[in-house]
Symmetry: C2
Subunit: 230 residues, 2 copies
Amino acid sequence: MATMGSSRHRAARQAEVTQNDQAIFEAARRVFARDGRHATVAAIAEEAGVGIGSLYRRYSGKDHLFRALLDHSNRQWAEAAERALADPDPWQGLAGFVVECVEFGQGTLAPLADEVEAAPEPDETSQRADTAFQDMIQRAHHAGALRPDVTAVDIILLIEQLGRSPLLEQLRLQGRTDLLDDARSARRRIVAVALDGLHHAPPTALPGEPPTLGLVEARWSTRPERRAAP
Amino acid sequence: MATMGSSRHRAARQAEVTQNDQAIFEAARRVFARDGRHATVAAIAEEAGVGIGSLYRRYSGKDHLFRALLDHSNRQWAEAAERALADPDPWQGLAGFVVECVEFGQGTLAPLADEVEAAPEPDETSQRADTAFQDMIQRAHHAGALRPDVTAVDIILLIEQLGRSPLLEQLRLQGRTDLLDDARSARRRIVAVALDGLHHAPPTALPGEPPTLGLVEARWSTRPERRAAP
DNA sequence: ATTTGTGCGGATCGATTCGCTCCGCACAAT
DNA sequence: ATTGTGCGGAGCGAATCGATCCGCACAAAT
C-alpha cells in the first residue's frame, strides 16, 4: 500500500497519501501499545508498511507522534462516553462503552506517561469526557443495572486491563493474520464475562464461537515464515 | 541486599547468597513479563539490585534464564491445578486457582515464545497439569457452578489477560512502592468481577476497598525522584 | 520534451544500548 | 599469608537507536 506504482490519476494519488497517513497513525497506536517504552519509530514505519522517511515527513519525531496519539485517545474517550449517554438504556450504554473502549485500546498509552514529555493538561475535551463518564456510571447505578459495589475507577481499570491483548499482539507479530479474527472474538467473550460480572442481572449468552485450543498453542508452533514472499 | 558488607558469619553469608538467587529469579520474572521481547539482562540485574556479574555466575545467558523461568511456570501451573482439585468445593477450587494463577502471572512469558529457542516439549509435569486442569473445569461444569458456555480455553485466556497489570508494572518502575498494595488490591477486585461473571450463582461481595482515583492518576503525576537517595 | 514539485524508500550518520567477558575487591576459611 | 568464593561494574565488539538526507518515481506545469 505504500508503493505508488500503479496510480494513474491525481485523485488516486491523493487517496494513497491519506491512506498512508492513516496507516502510520494506526501502526503507531499498535506499536506504542505493544512495545510501550521500547517502541521505536522504525518499528512503527515497518508496521505501517512505509519507509522511515515517510513517517518523518509527517511527524517531527517520536514525541510529536505520541502526543498526537494522546489527543486522539482523549477524543475517543469523550465521544464514546457521550454516545453511551445517548443510549436510552443505561446498561446497554455502559456495556457498549466498555466494549468500544476495550477494542479501541483505551489506556494502552498510559504506561508511557513518564517516558515522554506529555503534559496531560486537563483540556476541555477531557473534562467533558470525565463528567460524561461519571454521569454514565451514576445513571447505571441509579437504574440498578450496575452492581452497587463497583466504582468508576474499577471500570477504568477493567478497561485498561482488557485493552491489551498479548495474544493478539503476538499473532500480529508472527504474521498469523488468519487467526486475528479468532483472537479478537475470544477476547470479546472475556469482555462479555466481565460485563456479566458487573451486571446486576442474570448472565447473557457469550458472543461468538468458543475459542479453539489452537489459538493458544499457535505462538509455540514453529514459525510459518515471518511474512509472505516479496 | 546485594552488598555483603555486614555479614559476619558463614551461615549469614550463605543466606545472602541464596537470597540473591531468589532476587535474581524473581526479578527476571518481573522484567520478562514487563518488557517482553525487549527485556535485557542489565534490567534484570538492576531490578534484582545485583551486579551483572552475579547474574552471569548463575546463568549462562538470557536463554538459560528464560528456560528456567518456563520450568518454574510449568511447575506452578501443575501444583495450582492439583491444589484446586484437592478442594472439595468445585467452584472454590476453580476460583482459587484463577486467583493464584493471575497473581503468579501465568502466561506472561508466552509472548516470548518465538524470541527464544525454547522447546515447549510436552514433559511429564505439563501433561499432569493439563489433565488436572481439564478435570477441574469438567468438575465445575458438572457441579453446575461454572456457567455452561465457558470453555477451558476461555479460562486460560482470561488468566492470561489478567496476569499482566500495566498499572502495577509502571508503579514499580516509578518506585511508587507505597501504591503497590493498592494496585494489587484493585486488580484483585477485577478478578472477582470476572469470577462472578463465570459463576453460575449470585455475585459475591467484591474484596478490599474500592480503588481511589489517585491510583490511576499516579503515573501522570510529576515523577517523585526515580529512586531514594543512595 | 523538459522542468518542477511532491511523496516516497531506505542508506547512512553519530550516539546509545545490547549481551557478555573479565578483573579487582571484600571477606571467611584455611 | 594464602586460598576460595561471590560480588560489582568497567569495558568489549556488535547491534540498534532516533534522525537526516538523498535519489527515484510519477504527475502537473511549462
